[in-house]
Amino acid sequence: MINATTALKAESRDLNFFYSNGNQALKSVSMPLYENKITALIGPSGCGKSTFLRCFNRMHDLYPGNKYEGQIVMHPDNTNILEAGVDPIEVRMRISMVFQKPNPFPKSIFENVAYGLRVRGEKNKRTVADKVEEALKGAALWNEVKDRQQDLAFNLSGGQQQRLCIARALATDPEIMLFDEPTSALDPIATANIEELMSELKSKLTILVVTHNMQQAARVSDYTAYMYLGEMMEYGDTDTIFTRPTRKETEDYITGKFG
């Protein structure tokens, strides 16, 4: 089962989440997030997996009326990041996110990657340039863009844009990276590139990924959580979930009987 030597990076404890219209999107969700591992969230549309993911960087704070209950504890701080006294901006500085559709800024390739550093007030040109290069290399994009870093980011292909967004998220050395269906807008080759990249990245950070694609979950993740109607149905290491799920619902979803 779960390897006892892996450290806990974060963990949700009895997390409830309510949208401003009163809808309860998450019901008492508890799940660990192990350091330097990839955890995949799977489940049918509307099951709350994206909602759950977006709790980790307090994205729901952007829209008034949303409410969290319960805890997401981040380590090593041992702090509940949903606490009122926690600054969501500080949380987002340490937990970065890659979105479903590539969303580069209307800036050059270089400035896109430098954005997080600029926002943090980094003024040293040398530091910024080094970090940008490192992040572009980390996102396997450096060789393709190193000679045209001043080009607009929109001139890149969809797959390149998504890797640019990963580079942008990498540039600030986050501890956790959230991926919200990062390949659903990409072709199979670009998807394979991103998946490979995720596997490389986990040596540096902890990854939580939402995916609609079960093969993807099986390919890249170490742990898998199956969610349904806002509840955590089953959590375990990926091999077990995909070969010997304990619950009938999980098995039905995985084998394509529904969803």
């Binding site: 500085m93 800024f105 926002v119 607009l152 929109f154």
Partner: protein, 315 residues
């Protein structure tokens, strides 16, 4: 060869089934609708061309008497005096100075207002503030003119005692206030059209609201914001009543906003209100002035168009 001719025979031999035949009545109806729509669209184009034609025609009479050199180099504009001078520059300087003052007020205030409304105000605040702002557009410009003359000028005179009763500063400031809603409204629409995913991308990087507004939303909406500025420039250059009432009607070649001066529009309205014989040089001078006004606005519009194309929407 044989099969090819066979197929040809087949295709010529086929008759069109009545259910698939062209529907003549529907086709005619479509044509008529298309024609009506086209006429409606063309009416605006036609009007523009008609205006330009009349401006050109009447100005032609003017330029038979006044040379282009005199028109562009003379520093006096006194077409109705005994000793007539026909230099358009005093009117152009008045127009540019009042417009510059107006834009110096309207661009920052309008842009900041748009950023506030789009990125900071709650839904409720926006729903209250925006219609109120747009209400300003409905205030007759003559009211703004007297507001400038009777309220803003005395106020300014407390700060600058030497300020004359008619001055371009007061007219420009009030005109700027008048234009704020145009900029705020159009720029806000452009900012709100920036996809939420782009803002989320910025917030997810740990950016604050202000950083997101300035570094991501504004550059993404720059095309629409520039469009707002162009609209504002056209409004300022073409504005008549405020400057006619508050800036004085004395054509003076000056770029000092503390002076009084006439703008092109103020001259046109002043002359048009008097009774000038049709076809006289004074009468024709308003068309020449109008032509310059048209060229000025057109020039700004073209510049704006180029700038917009350069920063077209990039998301």
């Amino acid at each position: 060869m044989n099969t090819a001719t066979n197929m040809q025979n087949q295709s010529t031999a086929l008759s069109i089934s009545p259910r698939l035949a062209k529907n003549v009545r529907r086709n005619i109806k479509e044509r008529v609708i298309e024609l009506i729509l086209m006429l409606a669209a063309l009416s605006a184009v036609f009007t523009t061309f008609a205006i330009v034609a009349i401006l050109l025609y009447e100005s032609l009479g003017f330029f038979k008497v006044v040379s282009l050199v005199e028109f562009f180099t003379s520093t006096e504009w006194t077409p109705l005096f005994e000793d007539a001078h026909y230099g358009i520059m005093p009117l152009v300087s008045g127009t540019l100075t009042t417009s510059a003052v107006a834009l110096a007020v309207a661009v920052p205030v309008g842009t900041i207002g748009a950023i506030y409304l789009s990125e900071f105000a709650s839904h409720k605040t926006r729903e209250i503030v925006k219609p109120m702002l747009e209400l300003l557009v409905g205030v007759p410009t003559i009211a703004f003119g007297y507001f400038a003359l009777l309220f803003v000028t005395p106020l300014l005179q407390k700060v600058f005692p030497e300020l004359p009763g008619f001055n371009m500063l007061s007219a420009g400031i009030v005109m700027g206030v008048m234009i704020v809603p145009y900029i705020a409204s159009v720029a806000e629409d452009a900012m709100r059209a920036v996809p939420m995913s782009m803002r989320e991308g910025s917030y997810a990087m740990g950016a604050t609201r202000f950083q997101t507004a300035i570094r991501v939303v504004t550059p993404a909406a720059v095309s629409g914001i520039v469009a707002a500025y162009i609209l504002a420039i056209s409004r300022a250059v073409g504005e008549t009543m405020v400057v006619a009432v508050a800036a004085g009607q004395q054509p003076t070649l000056t770029f000092n906003p503390m002076d009084g001066a006439a703008t092109i529009t103020a001259y046109i309205v002043q002359v048009a209100m008097g009774d000038l014989p049709h076809g006289s040089i004074g009468y024709q001078s308003i068309f020449a002035a109008g032509l310059v006004l048209f060229a000025l606005t057109l020039g700004f519009n073209i510049i704006g168009h180029i700038v917009r194309k350069k920063f077209r929407e990039q998301y």
